[in-house]
Amino acid sequence: MKRSKRWLGLTATALAFSLVAAACGDSGGTTDAAGSTTAAPTTTAASTPTTTASSGGTETTTTAAPTMSGTYDLGGGAVLDTTQCPSSWDSTQGITDSEIRIGISLPQSGALAGFGTIAEGMQIFFDNADPIDGKSVKIIARDDGYESGRTVTNIGEMIDTENIFAFSHIIGSPNNLAIRDTLQEECIPQLFNSTGLPQWGDPENYPWTIGQLLNYSTESLIWCDYLSKELGPGGTVAAIYANNDFGKAYQKFFEKCAPEVGLEIVGTELHDPNADTVQNEVTTLAATGAQAFVVGTSGANCPRSVGGARAAGWDTLIMVSATCQNVGLFWKPLKGASNGIKVITTTKDIGDPRWADDPWVTKVRADLTAAGLDPDAGAQQTGYAFAEQLDHVLREAAASDEGLNRGSLMQATWQQDWVAQNMLPGSTVKTDGANDAFIIEAGEISQLAWDDAAETGTWKAVSDLINQEGQLGKFAG
């Protein structure tokens, strides 16, 4: 007689499955935005006209537009040098006779799948926009489940087979970090990363990459400033962060600024972004009785954190990441339990009656409705707003002396000065290379007012616009 090995085999299988599940993905952030450019083309155009042999994709025709090569002054001493690009590089790759092909990798599955419809929203914007140089903008999306390894694979595949001109609004800090060096070497624009890592404001070292969201350093500073005023000297704060680059960026900046303004951090928990609940971590934090609860996480973990605080009976001021702004996406499940939470908003909430007659909001609602969507649900509205930024730089680059190519696009991106319709009044979109490397630099503290009858909530401003335009400079390391 001997003990059967069946138990061993099956339990080992279960273990393997658990390990796979535990290893799946991270969490991170996203949300609003907008911005774009006024081109100040200063190009040394050592043009070498070549006809591109665009590969793959749904359309393979290419224009005979000249391929420009040279250096571009991005501002503040930052320079884009296209002479260092690979020999096969073509500055108009991905621009066909009829399309400008833009790639995006984002989570359409996994813990942050709620952001997956951003690409659809971007496409709806461009479907309703005038052509650029007679061409439509085509958004090509790939699901990465918020796993940076899959982002790398997606980007590689899209470069090889989808005839991509530029990437835009890729979601997630770890995801964008994982592809930054590759796109830098390949000289392919990586525009408007949908994350707030300050690293995106580094045009001297990474001229092909720029972020868009309010950066986490600035967001943390505004939290510190607001909480110190609300709670007074010695105010106590507990915080939960996602255990990844995104959450740890918040942790780093908040733990730096809190003591400087007299706040005491009485509890900190990191959570597994893929766990099913954060209740255990929040219960521990609730026991501190802190006067404020900072939620430095994203996706489903936003409502989970707030729901956890409510379940623990923790009556506290809750400040959530700006990536959790979308009411329909994150707060509808919690309903009234989300009432009173605070966030830094940078864009117009299209459900807010304050903007009912705003031309931008009216257009967003009309276009999303015409596409058969509920404008108040899902992340399409976020994608629609994102697209305004991309649209602007594409048009600016197209209007430049040399027309639309990857170099002129980056110059237009790093030299912006305009007012985006989706942003709060008083905000401006300005960039100037290394002098001003961040796009969104203004926001207001807003509080969620949940309406039980309407089953929706709106953000109500509880502060004036806090505008740090031009004060943030560049990434300081």
Binding site: G9, A14, A286
Partner: protein, 307 residues
């Protein structure tokens, strides 16, 4: 030096809160583990699609309860029947054709079902976050400081016990239960005494799907949000609970699930040197420990074979 780095929270209110959290979530894991155990008892296979069958049931309940405005009890009951019917169909079409003694193809089939059902749910109901209403009233039975025993927490615990009682009663007192036990005990002998093995196993699949759907419907409101990913992250803890309790023991499933919930809420949170972000890792550790020390779990039967 290492010992000096270890500290344990001793605040009694916080400890009570953690215990209550552990029971609240652990009862849900235990109920889902019960569904895993039913399939395992019948077939000797771990059904990786169990969580996704429950997910489908939860979305059906959501569609009926929230979309169509049905009472949530009725919506869940109908979704349990629907997933039971679906599971019976799955057993007949994609499980039964395979040799029941060869487990590897069956495991692969359940992995395939896992992906297929998950994708179907995501395509049908999209990936937006939703909320499944709780069957229990809001509010607390009692609270002490940060410790809250909510009606839903108590309700999940009692429901898990009721499910265990019902399963035991079914297996002990009914003809189909007897047939199920016979097939579980010895498939070949059961067949030789005239038990129709196929339909009996089909019954096991249907029962497990209904149990899983109810378990999910109990647990998901406590997780605040419903999305297509929710049961994947939950299933890991259910597996750990089933392994800990013993893969062929219904009682072990419930107790194992609750223990996993408590390990996660009390041990991981209380002991300072265990990072709290390792909660999923704790489940994996439990499985590993059971595998090494007591492969049959706390209440499972040690199988012996003739050599």
């Amino acid at each position: 030096m290492f010992l000096f780095a270890v500290s344990i929270d001793t605040d009694p209110e916080l400890l009570l809160a953690r215990i209550l959290d552990g029971f609240r979530f652990g009862s849900g894991y235990g109920a889902l583990a019960l569904a895993l155990v039913m399939i395992y008892k019948a077939t000797g296979v771990l059904n990786f699609a169990q969580g996704e069958l429950a997910l489908l049931g939860i979305y059906i309940a959501w569609a009926l309860g929230v979309g169509w405005g049905w009472p949530i009890f009725l919506a869940i009951l109908v979704s349990m029947i629907a997933t039971a019917g679906l599971a019976a169909g799955i057993e007949r079409t994609v499980i039964r054709p395979f040799d029941p003694s060869n487990h590897l193809p069956l495991v692969i089939v359940t992995l395939g079902l896992f992906l297929a059902i998950n994708s179907f749910v995501a395509v049908t109901w999209n990936t937006d976050l939703k909320a499944l209403p709780s069957m229990f009233p809001p509010g607390d039975v009692f609270s002490v400081g940060v410790a809250h025993l909510s009606w839903s927490g108590l309700g999940i615990f009692l429901s898990a016990l009721a499910m265990l009682g019902a399963v035991n009663l079914l297996l002990a007192k009914t003809k189909v239960g007897l047939a199920f036990r016979a097939v579980s005990s010895n498939l070949e002998s059961a067949e030789l005494v005239g038990i129709r093995v196929g339909p009996t196993l089909q019954f096991g699949w249907a029962l497990a799907a209904a149990i899983g759907t109810l378990a999910g419907a109990l647990l998901v409101p406590e997780l605040n949000v419903l999305d297509p990913n929710v049961m994947l992250s939950t299933l890991v803890f259910a597996f750990a609970g089933a392994a800990l309790g013993g893969l062929d023991s219904p009682k072990g499933a419930i107790i194992g699930g609750i223990l996993v919930g408590l390990i996660r809420s009390v041990v991981v949170q209380s002991v300072s040197f265990i990072p709290s972000e390792l909660s999923v890792g704790a489940a994996v550790f439990v499985i590993l420990l059971v595998l090494l020390v007591r492969p049959s779990g706390l209440y499972g039967s040690s199988k012996v074979v003739r050599v």
